[in-house]
């Protein structure tokens, strides 16, 4: 049903003759001094997904990861000849290479999965952008300093201003122009409610096996509760959903601690 002109480059079977697997390099900003909440969430989500797929990868921190990325967003992976940005694209790229965590789902669940991915990608990501760039306190005390940390004076001020403009433009288009901080928190609350409704008390969103939605939600929830911000409302909203916190902790234990690799491989087999 797809028009061939609308294919992303990695769908078209370019480089199909390339051997697989190839070493994967994940490019992202510096974690300690540079990365910001929305980017961190996405980077963590990609890392979690790659780990869930049992794919080895090396993290390559770069000051200009954002500008290197073809889409202007971090993270992106380099895999052989391919440079693939953004969580969704990375997932579909890996799917095209035969690594698929949501294959066994029913077709209805697959559609629902896409919808929930979209929910997280939009509501949580945009709310994080709002808090990071729109909320003046956070912008002045945290964002400015971290985002500008890799640039020399006076370039840092110029780029902070430029990036803030870009984000503001995006958020205005998406209807955040008239929203107050509380409205944004309300959105987050609603989103968390929907997610925890979906999760219930299952170990993962769709049954017993993790898939891309688990990775994405983990990335966002983990970043929100661990990133220090000027006010802690975002974190405390998320904390008030115990199922989500439990889910997050489970994933953290199973894939991000060294002794948990065994559990992970059993889950995947």
């Amino acid at each position: 049903m797809q028009n061939s002109t609308l294919l992303e480059p990695w769908d078209a079977g370019l480089g199909a003759q390339e051997p697989w697997p190839q070493p994967i390099h994940l490019y992202q900003p510096y974690e300690v001094e540079q990365i910001l909440l929305p980017d961190n969430a996405n980077c963590l989500a990609v890392q979690a997904y790659l780990k869930m797929c049992n794919l080895d990868f090396t993290i390559e921190p770069r000051w200009n990861a954002e500008f290197m990325s073809p889409s202007g967003r971090v993270p992106f992976i380099k895999c052989g000849a391919f440079v693939v940005p953004d969580f969704d694209n990375i997932v579909s790229f890996l799917n095209s290479k035969g690594t698929n965590l949501s294959e066994s789902l029913s077709s209805e669940d697959k559609v629902n999965l896409r919808a929930f991915l979209s929910l997280v990608n939009n509501v949580l990501y945009n709310s994080e952008l709002y808090v990071t760039w729109y909320h003046m306190d956070t912008y002045k005390t945290i964002t400015k300093e971290r985002h500008g940390s890799v640039y020399p004076w006076p370039l840092n001020h110029m780029l902070n201003w430029q990036k803030r403009n870009q984000v503001t433009k995006r958020l205005n288009i998406l209807g955040y122009k008239n929203k107050k901080l509380d409205d944004v928190f309300e959105d987050v609350k609603k989103c968390c409610e929907s997610l925890s409704e979906r999760l219930e008390d299952k170990p993962y969103f769709f049954g017993n096996k993790p898939n891309e939605l688990d990775a994405l939600v983990f990335g966002h929830i983990f970043s929100i509760i661990t990133t220090p911000l000027t006010n802690n409302v975002l974190g405390s909203i998320v904390r008030s959903y115990p199922t989500l916190i439990r889910h997050c902790r489970d994933i953290e234990n199973s894939i991000f601690s060294p002794h948990a690799i065994g559990i992970n491989s059993i889950m995947n087999s």
């Binding site: 049903m1 797809q2 028009n3 002109t5 609308l6 294919l7 992303e8 073809p70 889409s71 202007g72 077709s107 209805e108 697959k110 559609v111 629902n112 896409r114 919808a115 929930f116 979209s118 929910l119 990608n121 939009n122 509501v123 870009q166 433009k169 995006r170 205005n172 288009i173 998406l174 209807g175 609603k190 989103c191 409610e193 929907s194 997610l195 409704e197 979906r198 219930e200």
Partner: protein
């Protein structure tokens, strides 16, 4: 009911069998229909009095509501909602699909209408210019066009316009395919009655399906998903019968007309030929009178001789 007590809705007018051509207006209309709420609908076609410069606007008890979420909340407060038997999981799904439609389909409609040059010049701008009243038709179409371009720029800051177009359309197509899979063979997304889910899907798909645009890649894609076409047409027929019938009627009338015009065609040809002959005669006549063309005089004489011969023969007999 005094005018203060009723819900007064200001919307863009409908066309092509739609009760309104705009996604958000359709949302409100469909939501009201599905929850048996009667609205006092005014097709103002003029967003000038709207505080945000957009339609729809809902006025209720001296309050003005402009965002769809606000209006839905208001309806819910008054116990008007199509989501009666909805589980919490289903309402979570509605939320998820709402963001998906907003992310994937809405930008595509904006692009299709206001950025695609062919569509804009041939259908959309003329339509809005016709519908809007005098001074406003110079302002709003340009404003909406600018907004749509701004949207493409803001959502795809690093891409060239062509790449942005490709990615916007491919996202929308994927989303439509997903919806088609999700709907399957059922009439509505959650069982046999329409819900907010159906409101959202219907209001996004109906304009794509019904507005006849010269560049219709998305419409073709949607038409390939027969269950979604059936779904959209079903809702239009059942809930917005008047608009649907009226358009179908006018369409068939138009078809008749074109047929008649086809029958007229030979007449046209006859007229053309007649006109050609007339013009030719006139020109020849003019030429004759000016002496540019002259019949050779000898012929006249010959004719006379011939007549004379004839006469002689007659005499002989």
């Amino acid at each position: 009911m005094s005018s203060n007590e009723s819900f007064q809705l200001e919307i863009w007018k409908g066309d092509w069998g739609l009760p309104s051509v705009e996604v958000d207006c359709l949302k409100i209309l469909a939501y009201a229909k599905f929850s048996n709420l009667s609205l006092h609908v005014k097709t103002t076609n003029n967003p000038f009095k709207s505080p945000t410069g957009q339609l729809p606007v809902l006025r209720y008890q001296n309050e003005v509501y402009t965002s769809v979420d606000q209006i839905f909340d208001l309806f819910q407060q008054h116990k008007f909602t199509p989501d009666i038997d909805i589980t919490r999981l289903q309402s979570a799904e509605i939320d998820a699909f709402k963001t998906m439609l907003d992310e994937c389909v809405r930008p595509a409609i904006q692009y299709l209408w206001w950025v695609d040059v062919q569509n804009l010049n041939q259908v959309i701008r003329p339509w809005y210019c016709k519908v809007l009243s005098f001074p406003f038709n110079f302002y709003y179409p340009g404003k909406y066009e600018k907004q749509a371009k701004f949207m493409v720029e803001a959502l795809h800051p690093t891409k060239e316009e062509k790449d942005a177009e490709v990615s916007i359309y491919s996202k929308a197509q994927k989303c439509i395919t997903l919806l088609s899979t999700r709907l399957g063979e059922s009439n509505y997304f959650f069982g046999s009655n329409p819900t907010t889910f159906d409101v959202l899907v219907f209001s996004h798909l109906a304009p794509i399906l019904k507005v006849p645009l010269p560049n219709c890649s998305l419409q073709n894609h949607l038409k390939a998903c027969s269950n979604l076409v059936k779904f959209t047409n079903g809702i239009l027929q059942k809930y917005f019968e008047d608009d649907y019938q009226e358009y179908e009627k006018s369409k068939s009338e138009k078809e008749m007309k074109t047929k008649v015009q086809k029958d007229d065609f030979p007449n046209k040809r006859r007229n053309q030929i007649l006109a050609g002959i007339f013009a030719g005669t006139a020109m020849l006549g003019y030429a004759w009178s000016m002496g540019i063309v002259q019949a050779p005089e000898d012929d006249h004489r010959q004719m006379e001789y011939m007549y004379a011969d004839d006469a002689e023969e007659d005499d002989d007999e």
